[in-house]
């Protein structure tokens, strides 16, 4: 399995170089804007999203059919892909954190914990998004899964906008229990969020394994 992760990272070598260049570019953008830390979470998202291109690379090389002739089973191949995804997200988060520190040192700002918490939120969000996407990619390939990505990105925004509009027009009011629940979740987010992310990750992983096990290659 280690071999598969090494393969993924070698394949990303070129893109990873790109990221270092983008980081430098972001650094200069950040120190010239009012919201210097906004860009750093973008980095996490960009890095994590490359997981999807790994599927495209494997498709192009017809790698999977070959990999399954090796001493690997289908579960291991999926495991490796999820681990790569987490490693990429973590490196993105680490890169963002380092960049945040460098920017604040450069701007002589006081660092607040909030910046780092935001990186945590960003990473959690991207893990959830990728966990939703990956089973689709395994089922229908990167090309055909593209449409689903678009829907997945747009749908939450549309929903939020719709709900907000309805709230403004007072067509919809949150019942008290929902308000209480939201309050409770927000208060305990530091513990609920990681658990929720872990749950989503596990569900996504087991769906992916079962799809992949049924697939004819």
């Amino acid at each position: 399995m280690k071999g598969l992760i090494i393969k993924d990272f070698i394949n990303l070598k070129k893109s990873l170089k790109m990221f270092l260049i983008i980081s430098v570019f972001y650094f200069f953008m950040a120190i010239n804007t009012d919201n210097p830390y906004f860009f750093t979470s973008m980095l996490t998202v960009l890095l994590a999203i490359t997981t999807v291109s790994l599927f495209a690379y494997d498709d192009m090389a017809k790698w999977d059919v070959f990999a399954l002739t090796m001493p690997l089973d289908r579960r291991k191949i999926i495991q490796a892909r999820y681990l790569t995804m987490l490693l990429l997200t973590l490196s993105g988060a680490a890169l963002s954190a380092v960049l945040t520190v460098i920017i604040s040192l450069y701007l002589k700002n006081d660092l607040s914990a909030e910046e780092f918490i935001n990186i945590g939120y960003g990473s959690s969000a991207i893990i959830v998004i990728l966990s939703t996407i990956i089973p689709f990619v395994i089922k229908m390939g990167v090309e055909r899964a593209r449409l689903i990505f678009v829907v997945l990105y747009i749908l939450p925004f549309m929903l939020i906008i719709m709900v907000k509009k309805m709230l403004d027009k007072q067509e919809l009011a949150f019942p008290d229990w929902l308000k209480n629940l939201t309050g409770y979740v927000m208060k305990n987010l530091y513990i609920i969020l990681p658990l929720a992310v872990l749950l989503v990750l596990l569900v996504s992983y087991s769906i992916s394994v079962s799809i992949y096990k049924k697939k004819d290659l």
Binding site: G3, I6, K62, W63, L68, M70, P71, L217
Partner: protein
């Protein structure tokens, strides 16, 4: 059909019994054959006859609609990873990412195969004159094939399963590759299943030949016996009807007369004393069976 009886003995590196796989436009129809240990089995048939589907079924890459396959004594559906690591596979195409190098490949395989033999791999790269640091995108088709063959041979494989390893290569490279396979088979424990539509390659190295046509096995037999059992008869068109259909594998007619591919040559000779079918080649046998009239 020959080899109808299936015996799951350790004598066979691969044993396939009643394998079926249905696609919308193609069916692999109840096929059975064995690959004896220590031999090279040539698996021939035209493009689309079912060679790759069969190989994919052997490697458990596709789900089948029936039948059993045993590989190195294990059910192909539940092969232990340790057994899988003793199988070297070359599939049609290279299957390695374009932007990797041969050196990257070594690093990856070292971390996948517990029995990876790095020095052996490097020797093959050297022998095939494959550059270590060049990306595979810049390799020719022959070089890509040689790289995958090097991988297949560098983890102490006992069984090689090769799907069209020589197709699209020039005669010199093909010859070089076939020599490697002949070297591999010197060890009695080693076995090769080699699919090809290039019959001359099979004729050159195979001990046994399995012929698949339209999703069905036409024969699976020792090459020498095959060539001995078949014969090509030249005769007048009118004479064709006198021959018992049981002996006719295929008929080709032209303005001068007819050519009949005779099977069971010995028996035929006893029954029809006047005729004398001449020795034939594997290629002719297959052409008559797949294209000739019956």
């Amino acid at each position: 059909m020959l080899n109808k009886e299936y015996k799951a003995t350790v004598k066979d590196a691969i044993a396939i019994r009643n394998l079926s796989k249905r696609y919308k436009d193609f069916t692999l129809d109840n096929i059975s054959f064995n690959v004896p240990k220590g031999t090279i089995m040539g698996f021939v048939g035209e493009n689309g006859a079912g060679k790759t589907t069969t190989i994919k079924a052997i490697l458990n890459l596709i789900h089948t609609d029936g039948g059993e396959i045993s590989v190195l004594g294990y059910d192909s559906k539940s092969m232990p990873l340790g057994v899988k690591s003793q199988i070297g596979v070359v599939l049609d195409g290279s299957n390695i990412h374009d932007n990797l190098t041969a050196r990257d490949t070594n690093l990856i395989m070292k971390n996948i195969y517990p029995n990876w033999d790095e020095s052996c791999f490097m020797r093959y790269l050297d022998r095939f004159k494959l550059p270590e640091k060049k990306i595979i995108k810049e390799f020719s088709r022959g070089m890509k094939m040689k790289l995958t063959i090097s991988i297949a041979l560098s983890h102490n494989s006992k069984l090689l399963i090769l799907d069209e390893p020589t197709s699209g290569l020039d005669p010199m490279v093909r010859d070089e590759i076939l020599d490697i396979f002949l070297e591999f088979i010197q060890d009695e424990e080693h076995t090769i299943l080699l699919s090809s539509h290039i019959i001359s390659d099979i004729e050159k190295i195979a001990d046994y030949v399995t012929f698949i046509h339209d999703g069905r096995i036409i024969f699976s037999e020792s090459k020498d016996i095959l060539i001995y059992q078949y014969g090509l008869l030249h005769c007048r068109k009118e004479e064709v009807d006198n021959i018992d259909k049981a002996y006719v594998a295929g008929i080709r007619e032209n303005s001068f007369g007819a050519e009949v591919m005779i099977r069971n040559r010995d028996e035929f000779l006893r029954r029809y004393r006047g005729y004398n079918p001449e020795r034939t080649s594997l290629e002719e046998i297959m052409l008559f069976i797949s294209r000739g009239r019956r």
